[in-house]
């Protein structure tokens, strides 16, 4: 088997194992959580009989192992069971299916903004090392990571929405309705999520570029007479891309965290806002479904990032 294929498969199986262990942990933690789903839902009408009937209906009377396997079997088919309280009786899979595209759209949008900002600022800073440009860019970056994203979101509302009236402060047009509308109504939330990420990306890119600019093979390329522009693009940028992309992948973990509050503030019907509502309503089934979905997204993105890095730098594979 070629070593690259083997690498991909090993990484894939690693991710799958993590996913599997993750579902077990999520399941067990939710089982241990205080509060009986039957009592939460039935309330006043909870008698021994109705509780038993409820548990039978939701398969909660089976042994723990059987319950888990049943749940896991459902997950594979994107069947998460039924919501308890946040929208009682609704199929959780349907709830997620409606919301997932919104979350993904806003997440990708935020990454695009962060990447664009950081490519500009990071490159400018590295090429003008030690100058005012560099200091400004790095200062901006430190400021970016220091602002709580939800507070920054409100500052954007204050300035660009209430103040200047350029953007809506609330509500989101799903991309399936209107792509232009989604880009427009999603701009402020995406920018709020992007700010701290852009800061981290900028710092990473700046450091990597500076390091690679000093590298020997750049010197060699110079000696061989390539034009300066080509040298910069081809060697430096390519070599700086790996740490940069790795960091982009790592940031997914923070990005998706930011999505949770930002979705709520801007009224985006996404998986994050669903999870918060389910948390309030103590809807255990929806909370655990959301947790698993986020877990899946992070693992998938990390896997893709690994693949990209491996393609950029085949030495990694071995």
């Amino acid at each position: 088997m070629p070593s690259s294929l083997k690498y991909f498969l090993t990484r894939l199986s690693g991710s799958l194992v993590t996913m599997l262990v993750g579902t077990i942990v999520v399941f067990l933690v939710m089982k241990a959580a205080p509060g009986d789903p039957a009592l939460i839902v039935l309330g006043d009408y909870a008698t021994d009989e109705t509780v038993a009937a409820f548990n039978r209906k939701h398969g909660l009377d089976a042994p723990l192992m059987a319950q888990y396997l049943d749940w896991l079997g459902g997950l594979v088919r994107f069947d998460f069971g039924q919501s308890l309280s946040v929208s009682a009786g609704e199929n959780i899979g349907d709830l997620l299916l409606y919301r997932l595209p919104n979350t993904i759209f806003v997440g990708v949008y935020a990454i695009l903004i962060a990447v664009t900002l950081s490519l500009v600022l990071g490159t400018l800073a590295a090429l003008n090392r030690g100058t005012t440009v560099d200091t400004s860019a790095t200062s901006l970056a430190v400021l970016g990571v220091s602002m709580p994203d939800f507070w920054f979101g409100y500052m954007l509302i204050l300035g660009l929405s209430i103040g200047l009236g350029w953007f809506p402060s609330y509500g989101f047009t799903p991309p399936s309705d209107s792509l232009a509308g989604a880009f427009y109504s999603g701009f402020l939330p995406a920018l709020a999520i992007a700010a701290p990420m852009a800061a981290v990306f900028t710092r990473t890119l700046r450091t990597a570029l500076i390091e690679n600019l000093d590298r020997e093979h750049v010197m060699v390329a110079k000696a061989m007479g390539h034009s300066g522009r080509f040298r910069f693009l081809h060697h430096v940028f390519r070599n700086s891309l790996i740490p940069y992309i790795t960091v982009v992948g790592l940031q997914i973990r923070y990005l998706l965290g930011g999505v949770v509050i930002i979705e709520r503030i801007f009224g985006i019907n996404g998986v994050g806002s669903l999870m918060v509502e389910a948390a309030f309503a103590r809807d255990f089934f929806v909370v655990q479904a959301c947790a698993v979905v986020f877990l899946g997204i992070v693992l998938a993105v990390n896997y893709v990032v690994d693949l990209i890095c491996a393609m950029l730098d085949p030495r990694r594979v071995r």
Partner: protein, 520 residues
Amino acid sequence: MTRSTTISRRSLLKSGAAATTVAMVPFWAGAAQASCSTLRAGITGYNVINTLDPGQMTLIPEAYMVWGIFNCLLKFDEEMNIVPDLAESYESVSPTVLRFKLREGVKFHDGEEMTSEDVKFTFDRLRDEAFGSPHRSKFSAITEIRTPDDYTVEIETEEPFAPMLSYLTNTRTGSQIVPKHILENGSNEEFASNPVGTGPFKLVSHEPGASLELAAHGDYFEEGLPKVQTVEVPLIAEESAGVTALLGGSIDVTSTAPFADVPELEEDDRVQVLKQAGTSSRFVSLNNSVAPFDDVHFRRALSYAFDRQAMVNVVLFGEGRAANGIIPSSISWAATQETPELVTLNQEKALAELEKSKYGAGTEATVLTWGSSWWKRFAEVFVLQVNQVLGVNFTVEVSDSGTVYQRMQTGDVQASIWGWLGLVDPDEYAYEIYHTDGARNFEHYSNPEVDKLLEAARRETDLEARGALYREAEALAIEDCPVLPCFESNVHNLLAPDVDGFVQLPYSAFGAQLAAVGNC
């Protein structure tokens, strides 16, 4: 106040099919249009709709939608008089029998005709213990329902039952007429998410926690209604977000307004503000069956320990008035007229009652509240004041409205911030909250004398005498402080400048009024 962006916003929506939430206006949009086919009526401050079955509804956003999808035998007109709705006329045959003549040719959304059988079925279903309706106790006085022909219904009660007419109106009483032919063999669960009524609007889609879409009922019995073809109802949990959505042109009507913003909005020509004193009651519900609220002296101490007018100022930013009891002052014939001493701040008496109580300073308790708007501040203002005056150590726990209501029902709560809006009969406040068997007596309060007076009030058909009985009952109940009445809040609707035809009633008639909205 310009509305230059209408067309492109509409076309934007059109491409959006059913799942649209709050649609946004791109800043590059142009052109103008006068009337509209799609009304965007945001439910603000709430985003939980668990059921659209009138027999099961409890939360106000559920009622908002039920009012537009169903009709009752009777309704309130713009002057708050009870007038016929599905009934053409009604008469009192004897003190215990009401006879209704139904309109002919009224169609359910599926095209079937509504007849007296459906009316009988509706009330039998509400009274059926197995159905478990939260409104059951309102109709348990009914002994028999007769249907001499397809268009005549007679409702008989064992004794004269004074609140009956209010309970048959299209309000939060659950008496909306449901189709027998669907529910006879169909499942209640299915109906809760796919309701079929006679109302001006039928449900097209419901995205839980996000939005609903309604469409005009073509066969609606009232000529010329509804005026709009489609109603989109985004559920906007944050009231302040509703304001920005309205100002930004993404919605045309809101169901509430944030109290803090009302003065500023009244000055703003981009919005019409409708407001009036609401038929509402906001209180602190104490679980009388658990410590420390099982001690009447402790409850009295609490009642003396906070300033209700300060609450109105701080929580409502002045948009309301301090309460005298739990029967709203707008039901003037039954409400307590003079503020009882126990419903005013009196630090000395508070401490004296605390002295007599088996609980002292330092007592701990959790006050449950919900949401993120003024409900949370309500709890905080209460807790801060009683902590300061009595030296107790209360804390606040924030949850969502559905959970708080569930926990109140199960008794899994010490104290909670709660309130009712849009209940129209004093019986719905006094009997259902103070009576031992009251449907919403989550306080587990029981006082035989109060019970007796409330039962007598139900039998009394003379309005003035009936009102006196409620006052007497409430005076006794207030001595026991099962709940701590705090204030009544104004009801508000925000409308875009061009919207007309929306009539606000003190019970916050949101969904019921959408049919008459012409321009938007």
